[in-house]
């Protein structure tokens, strides 16, 4: 009897060992399948002159920060006293072809908001009005109207994508930041 109990247990232990050794979780090193915001892209079109189209991008192709961001093209060149239609897009450029995350933000419009925060000096000389809304009639901000003042200047503006799953009220306060990028804005005739 004694031997049969221990024999039974040994068999069980042995089979457990075998069963567990089959499972090798560490060999399952997955390719990244989700999309990450790597690029914030702004396209502005002069409403008075459809040939005056400016494109600015802020990109960081390594979302873990192993390489610094590329801000060389994060630059808008605008004319004073003009009205521009602005459209913002968010991309994952690590994918081929490039994934457009803007569509997913649009799908989740009630929990997102894009905000344009010019630096103090710039804010006196630029007006940005967001003109798209979500299902709750709160501003989304993927499209905006940008009006430049008459002064010439070279300053900065932050483009911020906020994730606001609770308490979205049109202000920047609730939620957390998904993207916070800084663009140089030049206003010059």
């Amino acid at each position: 009897m004694k031997t049969s109990i221990s024999f039974y247990l040994y068999i069980l232990l042995f089979s457990l060992t075998i069963a567990s050794s089959c499972k090798k979780p560490e060999e399952d090193v997955e390719e990244p399948e989700n999309e990450f915001i790597t690029t914030v892209k702004l396209v502005v079109t002069n409403t008075a002159d459809s040939s005056d189209v400016q494109t600015a991008t802020w990109k960081q192709l390594t979302p873990d920060g192993s390489n610094p961001p590329d801000t060389s093209a994060a630059f808008l060149n605008l004319k004073p006293g003009s009205v521009y239609a602005l459209s913002a897009s968010f991309l994952d450029e690590t994918k081929t072809p490039t994934e457009n995350i803007t569509e997913e933000i649009l799908e989740r419009a009630t929990s997102h908001g894009v905000f344009y925060i010019p630096d103090a000096i710039l804010s006196s000389n630029i007006t940005i009005i967001r003109n798209d809304v979500d299902a709750n009639n709160l501003p989304l901000g993927l499209n905006a109207t940008l009006t430049t003042g008459t002064n010439t200047m070279n300053a900065f503006m932050n483009v911020i994508l906020r994730h606001q799953p609770d308490g979205k009220d049109g202000t920047i306060t609730p939620g957390s930041t998904d993207a916070d990028t800084r663009f140089r804005v030049q206003i010059k005739p």
Binding site: M1, L9, T39, W58
Partner: protein
């Protein structure tokens, strides 16, 4: 303190020249059965001489000036079966008496010499929670229950996630054992709570300091051991049902256990089925609801045991499943978000009360399979062979559903770790009156896989193999025990990490090996005093996260950087432990000093990294030399039969001695005091009233500008409860407890809460517990 030690020494000196009528009978009463009531106030009577005493609150007793001879000993206590036995006294005797709860059945009583229990680690400072104490903590998390012990504090991430901190250290420096096997969960993370169900524990023991060699070299702070309740071998069916309801979070929990025992001529077998379920909605701070703090937990276990003569075989399975919601206001993006949160003294959004668990949340499943064989050899020795398989799956869901074309994106966790561990341990234990010895060998392998969002792989996949061998020897000379042990460990880790740019898998191999040792002594003088001293060396392999972290730590607004060149961390720990009893006074003090070289910690680098999410302060894992010096002082008084009080104070000083700086996150000093009134005490029932004061002092040992906000100020909380126990004629026991924590609804913030920047702690909670044992 010096005088007390001196007193201990003189006491043993006088003991050597004992006269014929100067013998002492001392000992302690224990009851490991889960039907036990407190072993305090039990009467001990020597019938022949009418010498009588009562046990103190820890179940200890002592009678002095006994002449040599044979006596009848009578032991009688509330809720216990009366013991009448004979005892021969021709020397000082110390007894360990196991009591059985009072029932109509005749039960066996085991009286054994005290020294046979845990003698290998007898020099280690030890405290614990008994079955009786666990009864009044059901429904709490494992860490919150342990916090009632002197020297144990809690590191939280909001109200749902708590992990124990011992002597200022936690996570990988504090070893958790569940029924004799190391708990192998994702214990590296500050927001990763231990995967243990308090309801499955029969008792819990905490060994302070680097005093345990049996389970590994890495128990720098100590060991927390969870032991299952022993099977009741007097009844066919036994068990308990417990219910717990509470107002803060409008939650409840239920747990139950059913034991079946069967004995044939040669074989006795026992089976236990156990389960527990907890659910609650959002918690309240005094002024607002803590958003998304609902949680649920559902655990099960099966335990089977066969005993035949000298052979005992055990098989067990347990499953732990917890889904805690993470405080919504703690979910922030970059440094600007954090500063914005710090500028508000309450969350900017008014969250509603709900039972729904929304993103962000965690979902953890931990399963353990265990087989254990114990075989007693003829020569007062036994062999233990134990195999454990653990499966840990930790899923973390961020506030934001991942951006993905995949249809199942809502169900995909952002972080999904699968950790599989297999351990095989064997040990040979010899127990002689004057000498005891233990030799053991342990083999283990562990593999970790990661799924989820590729760039967010905080830690790479790995496979590790380890081997450890140890020996512990102890000699017992009268009241003195001296023990010494050594252990050798070898560990190899292979890591696999996908390069974020080339997408190729980088493979790396690391090897670590070192010795650890331990030496200690225990001196039991007369009944008044037990003095223990222990010196231990422990070491710890850097964790994979410490080596390879690279990325944003969610909810912490920080960017963490690992360092693959980190070395092993080595600790030298000295602990002195004193137990002193005199009349109404009971003192238990632990004093410790640790020197840790290559101590790994997260250092603020004082620069920011620019990511697309904004600017993040950089924290890097670095090494330094640290000291930890502290004391846990536990004093209690039995003022009268009606009134007793207890006073706990924990003090800790720690400093980085290389850089001459303080490091962040060290537990503040704490004071806890209880006043207990025995309102009613009869042979079949008792009623206690308990009022408790709990204070945590402001942590002043911080460097200026090293934290996002200064440490929160000192706070004091008041708690109270009423406890009623009743033994029914049908040998069942009822336990009813009602009370309130944070009675005054005090607003406070806790330095040991990682989310202290975002919200207050929970407010007043009124609770009821009912338990029926049969």
């Amino acid at each position: 303190m010096k005088y007390v030690v001196l007193f201990c020494i003189t006491a043993i000196m006088s003991n050597v020249t004992a006269q014929p009528c100067a013998y002492k009978l001392s000992g302690s009463l224990h009851c490991h059965n889960k039907y036990c009531s407190s072993t305090s106030g039990v009467e001990i009577l020597i019938r022949e001489t009418n010498q009588q005493t009562f046990t103190d609150e820890n179940g200890n007793f002592h009678i002095q000036n006994i002449c040599a001879g044979a006596y009848h000993l009578h032991i009688h206590g509330l809720g216990f079966q009366i013991i009448d036995t004979t005892i021969r006294i021709d020397k000082d005797i110390q007894l360990l008496i196991e009591l059985n709860p009072n029932t109509h059945l005749l039960r066996s009583v085991i009286i054994s010499d005290k020294q046979s229990k845990n003698q290998y680690m007898s020099s280690a400072s030890q405290i614990g929670l008994s079955a009786d104490e666990i009864k009044s903590l059901r429904g709490l998390s494992f860490a919150d229950a342990l916090q009632t012990l002197s020297g144990v504090q809690v590191l939280r991430s909001g109200p749902n996630i708590a992990k124990p901190v011992l002597h200022g250290m936690h996570s990988n420096r504090l070893l958790l054992l569940n029924n004799g096997s190391r708990l192998e969960g994702q214990n590296w993370g500050n927001e990763h709570a231990p995967e243990i169900d308090l309801n499955s524990a029969g008792s819990i023991e905490v060994i302070k300091g680097a005093a345990s060699l049996r389970y590994g070299s890495d128990a720098i702070a100590g060991v927390i051991e969870v032991l299952p309740a022993p099977f009741d071998t007097t009844k066919t069916w036994s068990g308990f049902i417990a219910l717990h309801g509470f107002t803060n979070g409008m939650g409840g929990s239920g747990s139950g256990s059913l034991d079946y025992f069967k004995k044939t001529k040669k074989i006795s077998s026992s089976l236990r089925l156990q389960s527990s379920y907890t659910r609650h909605g959002s918690f309240n701070a005094p002024d607002y609801i803590l958003g998304n703090t609902a949680s649920r937990q559902f655990n099960q276990s099966i335990h089977y045991q066969v005993v035949r003569k000298g052979l005992q075989a055990e098989l067990s399975w347990n499953r732990f499943n917890s889904r805690p919601g993470i405080l919504a206001s703690s979910h922030i993006g970059n440094l600007n978000d954090l500063n914005e949160a710090l500028n508000h003294n309450k969350p900017t959004v008014n969250y509603p009360f709900t039972y729904a668990i929304k993103r962000p949340y965690q979902d953890i499943i931990h399963q353990t399979f265990q087989g254990k064989l114990t075989y007693a050899l003829k020569t007062k020795s036994h062999i233990v062979l134990q195999y454990t398989h653990q499966d840990n799956n930790r899923k973390e869901y961020d506030a934001q559903t991942p951006f993905s074309d995949s249809l199942e994106r809502g169900a995909v966790a952002d972080l999904n770790f699968l950790l599989i561990t297999d351990q095989l341990q064997s040990r040979w234990i010899l127990q002689h009156e004057k000498h005891s010895s233990e030799i053991g060998l342990a083999l283990g392998t562990q593999g970790q896989g990661f799924r989820g969002t590729g760039y967010r792989s905080l830690v790479p996949n790995f496979r590790s193999y380890d081997l450890g061998a140890y020996s512990i020897q102890a000699i017992h000379i009268k009241q003195l025990t001296i023990d010494a042990g050594a252990r050798y460990d070898y560990k190899t880790i292979n890591t696999f990490q996908r390069n974020p740019i080339s997408l190729k898998i980088d493979e790396r191999n690391m090897e670590f090996h070192a010795w650890s040792f331990n030496i200690g002594s225990k001196l039991v003088t007369n009944h008044h005093c037990t003095l223990k001293a222990n010196l231990g060396r422990a070491w710890r392999v850097p964790q994979v996260i410490e080596l390879f972290a690279r990325g944003i730590h969610q909810g912490a607004a920080s960017y963490e950087l690992g360092d693959s060149s980190l070395n092993t961390e080595k600790a030298l720990s000295a602990t002195i432990d004193l137990n002193y009893d005199y009349h109404i006074l009971h003192v238990h003090t632990t004093i410790y000093h640790q020197y840790i070289s290559n101590y790994i910690y997260l250092r603020p680098m004082l620069y920011n990294i620019q990511l697309i999410q904004g600017a993040f302060p950089v924290f890097a894992y670095q090494q330094t030399d640290m000291i930890f010096t502290g004391a846990d002082i536990d004093v209690s008084f039995s003022w009268s039969k009606l009134l007793s009080s207890s006073h706990q104070f924990s003090y800790l000083y720690s400093r980085d001695i290389t850089n001459r700086k303080y490091i962040p996150g060290i537990v503040p000093n704490r004071l806890k005091q209880d006043l207990i009134v025995n309102i009613m005490r009869k042979t079949y029932a008792k009623l206690d009233f308990n009022i408790e004061q709990e204070s945590a002092f402001v942590q002043n040992l911080v460097e200026p500008e090293s934290d996002f906000a200064p440490p929160p100020p000192t706070y004091t909380l008041w708690n109270f409860h009423l406890k009623y126990e009743l033994i029914t004629a049908k040998s069942g026991t009822w336990f009813i407890q009602a009370g309130s924590t944070n009675l005054l609804n005090t607003r406070y913030r806790n330095y040991m809460n990682r989310f202290r920047y975002f919200s207050d702690e929970t407010g007043r909670n009124i609770f009821v517990r009912i338990q029926y044992n049969f």
